[in-house]
Symmetry: C2
Subunit: 384 residues, 2 copies
DNA sequence: CTGAAAGCGCTTACAG
DNA sequence: CTGAAAGCGCTTACAG
């Protein structure tokens, strides 16, 4: 009777059946089709020549056996896995999520798989991740290096001939394909926009985690003195700080270093704390510029907490076009990086390297666009 | 002279050097160490027994040759790749990004790699993705199925004995490990909270993409009539609609089907359009509940565009705890799914299957929590 | 504890 | 066009 139907028995049966049915191999197909494994391999693998009749026999046999190719065996011979490895900072960060999607778009189109790891911006984790990917024989790697100076593992990787593309950050002296954002000019333009609106005291909320030689104050002094700053291997947040200083320089507006906020750690909470302190000062700035999405979020939280109204009491330009910037009244103007396109560009470059093209190292700096919305107005004159 | 330094030449040299240095294999190490490949394999692979002296010789030789294991060869023999495949909807969606991070946490800890694909909720892409992953011999798959009825490919996959865990959605009659959210109760509690605050006309902004038998109106009618609705294999948005109806039922508040908005497609823009129309009606609801993050975003955009103030003119409860909900004044109350924990749970279950544990199929429904912030108040009485 | 041999599932020259 | 044989880089019984 159906009421007494015991489902656990069914499961056991299924399991047993399963264990008894090993996967079909090319040899099995060849045997059933009455051809050699070489011939079966040729039709199933789509290489070499085979007559129509044999092709049919093999296809029929493969169909009957439910043959599925084993990419491992093929890769072992060809030396290619059609898999690319990616080391991202943290997939939860929309920046990386979009970059990964871009990489995935290209990979999928070319029939490549994507092995993804998170480094959490930890050097040790990044190293482990690269090792894992190398052992799995990925055809190439895209990495967002968390160390822009040393990164011996990446130098070794490149020296060993492994296709490698850097994303978002560069490594000093490692001349290989990379894609990033034109950070200095993007930040400069954003801050120029603020200056042009009449702002003279502009706060900067930035990560600035690694210590540049001499720290922020000395960095600003050098940038202001017009000393050529080697910006290529700088972390993005330092590059954006450079753009901030340059905008002041061009407009002959002095930089007040106390307005440059260093969150010191990469979290919205740290940015919020720093920004909260800044905005409660008597001489608080009339505008703020943030150097990435996470900083923008922290700054916004601080602004909301203080109940400051944008743009009447405070103007703001953010970084990265996060969803809420479009609908949070009055609309937050922001510097939008072409995140997905960056991922696509990186993947294309890597695929070119993999296909063996002998191309000299390229640096692709993608332009970021200033998306103007309603968060910038003339400074509140009652303030000063 | 340094000025005449030609960097292109250096590059060529490096390339040439590279091509000349093939990777060291176990055979190379064995030869240099003066032992058999079996012995070298035993120490390098960490299996079997080896004397201390031989172990040293092998290690030294491996070090000298820069030996790196080839996981492909090992996998071909062991039949295990220590790689798990994931088919997500779209990595850009924070829901999937967090779930993926959860999966990654566990995988990384256990030394597993992660092969990630996007289905874009397209059945064809999902099928292709699964095929790719299977060919690459992943040890198991975690998939968020875009079809909850048919999904023959997933049934076949499971029947073939491949470890498989479903996430977010179930497949009708496919009794395998899965993790999801307790959607019905989560939605019911959120709507109950709204009713308890005094709301009687509550809008629902939902995806509701697949047609349930008879459509929304008939679905609501059946749910209201107390007919037992088989909710397990329903899409999450339909389950959340069910919770919405149940909350009304319990409180003896009639459901007005015209308040149930069907975005019809999975995008914030569609949700915004639908919501905009709803909120401009004379008999607009005094509160809205949205059934996922994307819908919440669209609804928020519509609310902002109309300049409605929350909660005085409109109360709202969202779904998924998105960053902006915390700082957008007055704070948006929302139903928070434990996204990362869901990914971790799915990964753990998959790993158990992979390790061969003979466990009957488990359904893990994780509780979502109502995060109360400032977006709910009593209805604006001037409205009615 | 160690080595010779076989083999995982394919592809690749090499003859015919 | 087709097949026999070798081999990719490992691991696994099997003797010793």
């Amino acid at each position: 009777m159906e009421d007494q139907f015991d489902s656990s028995q069914v499961i056991m049966e299924v399991r047993a059946k399963v264990a008894a049915k090993p996967k079909a191999t090319i040899a099995d197909v060849a045997r059933l089709a009455g051809v050699s494994t070489a011939t079966a391999g040729r039709v199933l693998g789509g290489y070499g020549y085979t007559s129509g009749s044999k092709k049919d026999q093999v296809m029929k046999a493969a169909e009957k056996l439910g043959y599925k190719p084993n990419a491992l065996a093929r890769s072992l011979i060809t030396g290619k896995t059609r898999t690319i490895g990616v080391v991202a900072g943290d997939i939860r960060n929309p920046f990386y999520a979009f970059v990964l999607r871009g990489i995935s778009n290209i990979a999928e189109k070319e029939g490549f798989g994507l092995l993804i790891t998170n480094s959490d911006e930890s050097f040790e984790q990044e190293t482990r991740a690269v090792d894992l990917l190398v052992e799995k024989q990925v055809d190439g790697l895209i990495v967002s290096p968390c160390d822009t100076r040393d990164s011996a593992h990446l130098r070794a990787l490149h020296a060993s001939g492994t296709p490698l593309v850097l994303i978002d950050r560069a490594v000093e002296g490692l001349e290989i394909d990379r894609v990033g954002t034109a950070n200095v000019s993007a930040a400069r333009e954003a801050v120029q926009r603020l200056i042009q609106a009449g702002h003279r005291r502009i706060g900067l909320v930035a990560e600035l985690v690694e210590e540049a030689e001499g720290g922020v104050v000395s960095f600003i002094a050098r940038a202001q003195a017009g000393e050529p700053v080697e910006s290529a291997a700088l972390y993005p947040s330092w590059q954006r700080l450079l753009g901030y200083v340059q905008a002041h320089l061009v407009a002959r507006v002095p930089v007040d270093p106390t307005l440059v906020l260093r969150a010191g750690e990469y979290s919205a909470e740290a940015a919020e704390r720093a920004c909260l302190a800044l905005l409660q000062r008597d001489d608080r700035p009339s505008a703020v510029f943030t150097t990435d999405g996470t900083m923008s979020e922290g700054a916004m939280a601080a602004i909301a907490k203080l109940g400051l109204s944008i743009p009447t009491q405070l103007s703001m330009i953010g970084f990265d076009d996060l969803d809420w910037m479009a609908f949070l009244p009055p609309g937050i103007s922001t510097v939008a990086q072409p995140r997905m396109a960056m991922g696509e560009a990186a993947a294309r470059m890597l695929l070119e390297q993999i296909s063996g093209a002998d191309i000299p190292p390229r640096t692709v700096l993608m332009p970021a666009s200033l998306v103007e919305r309603g968060s910038v107005s003339a400074p509140d004159t009652s303030l000063r």
